[in-house]
Symmetry: C3
Amino acid sequence: MMPAEAKDRPSVAPKNMQAITSGLAGYTDNVLFGDVWLRPELTPRDRSLVTLSALVATGKSAQLAGHLNRGLVNGLKPTEIAGMVTQPAFYTGWPNAVSALNIVEQVFSDRKIDPATWRLTASQSSKLPNQEPRQADEPGIARVSPKFAELSDQVLYKDLWQRPDLAPRDRSLVTIAATAANGDVNELAYQVQRGLANGLKRAEIAEAFIHLAFYAGWPKATAALRLADGIFHQEELASPETDKREDVH
Amino acid sequence: MMPAEAKDRPSVAPKNMQAITSGLAGYTDNVLFGDVWLRPELTPRDRSLVTLSALVATGKSAQLAGHLNRGLVNGLKPTEIAGMVTQPAFYTGWPNAVSALNIVEQVFSDRKIDPATWRLTASQSSKLPNQEPRQADEPGIARVSPKFAELSDQVLYKDLWQRPDLAPRDRSLVTIAATAANGDVNELAYQVQRGLANGLKRAEIAEAFIHLAFYAGWPKATAALRLADGIFHQEELASPETDKREDVH
Amino acid sequence: MMPAEAKDRPSVAPKNMQAITSGLAGYTDNVLFGDVWLRPELTPRDRSLVTLSALVATGKSAQLAGHLNRGLVNGLKPTEIAGMVTQPAFYTGWPNAVSALNIVEQVFSDRKIDPATWRLTASQSSKLPNQEPRQADEPGIARVSPKFAELSDQVLYKDLWQRPDLAPRDRSLVTIAATAANGDVNELAYQVQRGLANGLKRAEIAEAFIHLAFYAGWPKATAALRLADGIFHQEELASPETDKREDVH
């Protein structure tokens, strides 16, 4: 599965990785890009979305330019990249989005992508249909801070989640990647269920966590997969007919 | 609550945010600065303290200069900023403080703030009264590492927490923000109780977590509010007469 | 234990720390470098390994150059540094390793360390004996993602952990530091047990967590020590004869 030798194709690993940590360069070429990125369970475009979301969510600005260019090549639209940057502002904090925007601005400028073209479109777009509000299973939070419950309802669920810059399924993928990368497992449990409701397949969610193992680390991926297994298993018990055509593997 | 159009006042969002992610610029102007920062439950000075602590605690150097200038305008004293940088060294690691100091140095220099003026004062100040040592509810930690228990007692509780550069109430606010932003919920449970003992009001603590939602993300704020609700509820059961004049909302 | 005055030896604290946060400079000189780094429970070389792993694992590039130089002086070999950078790629994500390599490259270049000299050696080295595969106690993860289980087994346990660039005991120390610094406590529980099996002493593991308190914060160290106490205690119950010569204190 993972030959020790470099293959014939040129290495995608940085030069200093090849020179100093040749083993890591081998994993990069043969495992990460030679195996994981090629797996059909998730398209290259979706893998770019997951990767970019994890990078923004964990503040890894240094790797962002390369993956933004890759994502555009893989089919992400500039408006989707704008949506992908906006979402982690709420789920991981403003600073990550503000820092990411400096890199996005440079990449767009280099590629002659003009944000003015889509701002018009966006203002003309109608909002997406109402998202189901978060289940009111947290009376404690509304009790300790009614304002936080109001912001969650009015700004996140009735506005952010209805924005047309990301399809609901993609917005769920971005949010799942961001919360998994940051180890926010309670939030992740909710977002996995929401993602299923928004049209993500179980196999896509599981594959996103494999992919994240390489961008946020094995422990974060392990925790996310453990969680996903529990949720999928509960869902199967509740409605054994669902997902028949889909093999999780 | 959150008009889609920009209001009359000029946007505080960065130019590239306005150009690339106009939605995020709208949230910045209308929700974050047009609503949350203006809420009276926490003063602008305290909001700056919370924001700065979260930025230092999560290593977001890029946003630090702007918020340091804002904090000084909002009434934070240079000595308090020094205390705000020192505290996360212990609660989030030395590297965050070391990196923050490079930005603080630049901002102080730009504003002609001379640290020499307060070093003398600090050396003349007597220490604050003894802080109650951490409750000895962790015999396991003393068992596995008596040295760690000694450092906690001698350096943190009998020295750091008694420094005069931050009032105990402010030191608690800084520590609560740092631990909440990093998702250290076990530590946070202790720090919330300590903060109440140091004079923070319940409503201030809850409001700090709303504020943090925008600087460390919704999941971290949700976890902190869930925790706070449990602690406040326990306190009410234990002493129903407390906090009568204070409405948590 | 921690005199308020600076001692006679010159301060190792940065100039701006001495000027702006003289208290933190005092803790740096008298506690961190004047006490903790000097404790015999862990060698300076091992402390460098723990520090470097924590810095890479938490993406603190700004402090890396100084500690790489210190680590080389403390006896770390360049190949061990290469191994120390490779390991967190898997345990904390590729971006941390990629960013760290830029600093390692510069430090090696400044010190005339030529990676070409050890690449040959590495390719000639035979692999270390098979590491015991991770106990198959996670059927849920194999169920939700057989590929992840395969990657864990084939790439991590049968390849990464058998690389000759780090001795198994050192690889465990690096991994324990990385997972503790990131608060990945479930993974940490497994890695502490693996570290004991790989020859780390209990007192070394506990001391690594004291050391980490200063590089990843008190809450992360507290959680790690709480966990270690539970594991050590269980082990003592299971085999009371073990570790007799070793005092945890």
